[in-house]
């Protein structure tokens, strides 16, 4: 009897395998289209696998971010469902949660357009949940970045927010390069809210050491570090060191000429490329 069903069973397994491979390829194609921000294509491909979790996620994200045809309410409802579906991968759930929280936050900043539409989502709680779901990751970093900015804005939560910011950075076990955007935020907010240049420079120094992905930010930060040490902290030694470093790294930058002027004002000789000692 088994012999009778051998071929159909074998065929079923083979078809299933092909279907699985085909499905994987289809999902890859959906993700690729989405990561290229080709929303029409991503939507089209996702529509062919409407029940697949990745397809559902990408469809919702396209509805959220495609400005040519946004469907925000529908998108956020779907993202809320995906975030709560524990059977889904952590990666998908955290992306759903982060996008939902961020867009809800931005909508609440534009009540003139969105009214109370986003009030059903506690975006701050969602950010915290994402941080706990994927600790020490880029997504946790982003959730924290978006949340802490809001906490710092509020006077009643400000002191606690500064403490939390420091704790997050110290306790972060992921790639140190991921902390750079947080350190940028820290530098800015320490100056803006407390005129605290010591802490601002501490974070800026760390960010410069950890490195920037954006070469323009790297250059701007390098000069700013020298300038803040010199002009705000009145730290002559560090100012000179960092001006020289800047000139060495960016000899053709317009600001290298300004750095040379500042060195002169500090009583230092101008430098040429190659003169600066490594840190």
């Amino acid at each position: 009897m088994f012999q009778m069903f051998r071929i159909p069973v074998l065929l079923t397994f083979v078809c299933g395998a092909f279907a699985a491979v085909g499905s994987d390829e289809a999902v890859d194609a959906i993700m690729k289209a989405y990561s290229d921000m080709n929303y029409p294509q991503a939507r089209k491909l996702a529509a062919k696998l409407p029940e697949h979790p990745e397809a559902r996620l990408v469809t919702a994200l396209c509805d959220l971010y495609d400005r040519t045809s946004p469907q925000i309410e529908r998108a956020q409802q779907e993202l809320a469902l995906l975030f709560r579906e524990e059977s889904l991968s952590v990666r998908l759930r955290s992306e759903a949660g982060l996008s939902l929280a961020r867009t809800a936050q931005l909508m609440k900043e534009r009540r003139d357009i969105y009214g109370n539409a986003a009030d059903i989502y506690d975006h701050l709680a969602l950010f915290r949940e994402v941080e706990e779901l994927v600790p020490d990751s880029a997504m946790a970093r982003d959730a924290f970045l978006y949340r802490i900015r809001e906490e710092l804005e509020r006077e009643e939560s400000r002191d606690a927010a500064f403490d939390e910011l420091e704790r997050f950075i110290v306790e972060f076990k992921g790639d140190a390069r991921l902390l750079t955007p947080l350190r940028q935020m820290a530098e800015y907010e320490y100056i803006r809210l407390r005129s605290d240049y010591a802490n601002a420079v501490r974070h800026l120094e760390a960010a410069c050491a950890e490195g920037f992905d954006n070469p323009s930010e790297a250059r701007s930060a390098s000069f700013r570090l020298a300038f803040l040490c010199d002009r705000k902290l009145k730290d002559r030694e560090r100012g000179i060191r960092y001006y020289r470093k800047f000139i060495s790294e960016y000899p053709f930058a317009a600001l290298s000429i300004v750095a040379k002027r500042f060195l002169k004002e500090l009583g230092e000789e101008s430098v040429e490329v190659g003169d600066v000692e490594e840190q």
């Binding site: 961020r102 931005l106 982003d142 070469p215």
Partner: protein, 553 residues
């Protein structure tokens, strides 16, 4: 019968004529199709790839330079075993934006395109170049830029190419531009008895005075200073430059966050009494004085009219970009000298605290070229983009043919082009102009300057200040729109974050690909604080502008 035969014969001739016309048009179409597809070599050689390079630069020398560069490229690629034809398309600037959008939306864009439009268009339709700018440009082998990354090979390290809204690189710049003054030496010699060019504002104004007198004495319509009035470019240039010469040192201390500063900083300092507003009005007084030597009716004179007047020999000085230098020098029937904008010194009543000329290093970059996402030949398009921004070829096209400044480092200039080189021997960069917040409100500021020049008030500074305050509602409205725009950008940036995050988590990626996604995500998130800072600065600016008082402190 005979009549019928005649009619038949006439009809038959008419039909034959129609058939001949149809055949001719068909043949013309075939020729055009073959030509547009790269010639018969391409049609009969299916492995020849055709890429298209499109722009709006129809100035003398540009297209010719690129035809030569294209020939070199095709030969070099043939040596590498790659058959490629490059088609150059020059589209007039008036129709370029529309043409570009049609190309991008229609789905068959050229492979390398000159960019114009908003950041949103760039983000939606153009490939981000950040994955490639850290690599060396292979076409720089054997040149002084051999060991530089593609990004570092540019004179500004590609700072001007960075899109401020998406913190991304969608293009590279082909050329650099400085502002210079073109002087009619013959006319100046006749008017002053000397061909010594002015180095200071005082000397310049004295020569202008003599030019005017000469015009009256000889009954000639002499215009001491020719301007681009219609688009207000000259006024904008003068206001920016002399504000920098007078107030460049504000960058040293005005901002709490570092060097530079934003308009909100200046107005906040005026409101809290730490900055004398007269400092910001001194450039207005200087422009009002210089403006007395513009032509009557200057607001309605455009670039072509001013160039015509200059070529006719009746304009002493003409201020314009270096992209026009060769045309001005070559096409004038008299000697033309290219000089820098005169320096404000202590010899002038307003020059007591002047800082001198500002340095131009790394500024004036232009000619953005990028690759649309829908290109069918990405590798070749990227290769060609690197080729045209390589040391040898960029000099060929920009310096040798177009007589423009190159966007690259280490380029040596000779002859008259040395006069166009950026100023680098000063310690001050351009100052932030608090009255320039872009858009319509800045156009109103320039119109105010025009009015001051025409009406000659006793206190140009006060008239300007009051006019600026009268326009507060317009400025505030624009700033509010800017704030909304930044908030929209934050939303779009999260879209980028999400796309890059999901893209980078694909398990089938190589380590290199994963790192690339990580880096691009990092670039996006490093832009978030900058956006928040812009938001805060604009809100602060609205607040501080509202508090400004008409009367002096």
């Amino acid at each position: 019968m005979s009549k019928n035969n005649d009619e038949f014969s006439r009809n038959s001739r008419f039909q034959r004529f129609g058939l001949v016309l149809a055949i001719i048009f068909f043949l013309i179409s075939v020729v055009m199709v073959i030509r547009n597809h790269g010639g018969t070599e391409t049609i009969f050689s299916p492995d020849t790839k055709v890429i298209t390079f499109a722009h709006w630069q129809l100035e003398d020398g540009f297209r010719e330079g690129f035809e030569e560069a294209i020939k070199i490229y095709e030969e070099e690629k043939a040596r590498q075993g790659v058959k490629v034809k490059v088609r150059q398309l020059g589209i007039p600037i008036r129709g370029y934006s529309q043409w570009l959008l049609t190309q991008l939306i229609g789905g068959e864009p050229a492979d390398v395109l000159e960019l114009t439009g908003s950041s949103d268009i760039f983000n939606q339709y153009f490939v981000t170049l950040s994955p490639y700018i850290g690599e060396r440009n292979p076409w720089n082998k054997g040149t002084p830029l051999e060991n530089y990354s593609w990004r570092e090979s540019f004179v500004d390290d590609m700072l001007a190419s960075l899109d401020p809204n998406y913190s991304e690189f969608f293009s590279v710049n082909l050329f650099m531009m400085t502002v210079r003054v073109y002087a009619n030496v013959d006319l100046i010699r006749k008017a002053t008895g000397s061909d010594k060019m002015p180095d200071t504002v005082t000397e310049w104004l004295e020569i202008c005075r003599k030019l005017r007198e000469y015009g009256k004495a000889t009954d000639r319509p002499v215009i001491p200073i020719g301007v681009r009035g219609f688009d207000k470019a000259t006024l904008s240039t003068l206001f920016y430059d002399y504000n920098a010469q007078l107030n460049g040192d504000l960058s040293d201390f005005i901002s709490a966050y570092g060097f530079g500063g934003v308009p909100a900083d200046a107005f906040e300092a005026i409101n809290n009494g730490t900055l004398d507003r007269e400092r910001l009005l001194d450039p207005v007084r200087l422009i009002a004085e210089i403006g007395q030597y513009f032509a009557e009716g200057f607001p309605s004179i455009d670039l072509e009219q001013t160039k015509y007047l200059f070529f006719s020999g009746n304009v002493g000085f003409f201020i314009d970009g270096s992209y026009n230098a060769w045309s001005m020098v070559n096409n004038s029937p008299f000697e033309v000298k290219v000089i820098r904008l005169p320096e404000l010194t202590a010899a002038h009543p307003l020059g007591g605290h002047a800082l001198g000329r500002v340095n131009e290093l790394g500024s004036g970059l232009g000619g953005k070229f990028g690759i649309p996402k829908r290109t069918k030949n990405f590798d070749l398009a990227l290769d060609f983009l690197r080729f045209i921004t390589s040391y040898r070829i960029n000099q060929l096209t920009m310096v040798e043919h177009s007589r423009w400044l190159s966007s690259l480092k280490q380029v040596k200039y000779e002859g008259f082009m040395k006069d166009l080189e950026p100023i680098t021997d000063t310690g001050y960069t351009g100052a932030n102009d608090p009255f320039n917040n872009g858009g319509y409100s800045y156009r109103r500021v320039l119109q105010l300057l025009e009015k001051i020049i025409i009406e000659k008030p006793s206190d140009p500074g006060q008239m300007f200040w009051e006019g600026f305050l009268d326009d507060r509602p317009i400025l505030t409205s624009e700033l509010y729109e800017t704030v909304l725009g930044i908030q929209r950008t934050l939303w779009s940036m999260d879209g980028s974050r999400s796309a890059l995050s999901l893209g980078g988590s694909n398990p089938s990626l190589s380590e290199e690909e994963r790192e690339l996604f990580r880096r691009r995500g990092g670039i996006t998130q490093e832009g978030v604080t900058g956006r928040y800072r812009n938001l805060d600065d604009n809100i602060r600016l609205m607040r501080e502008v509202e508090k400004l008082k008409r009367e002096k402190n």
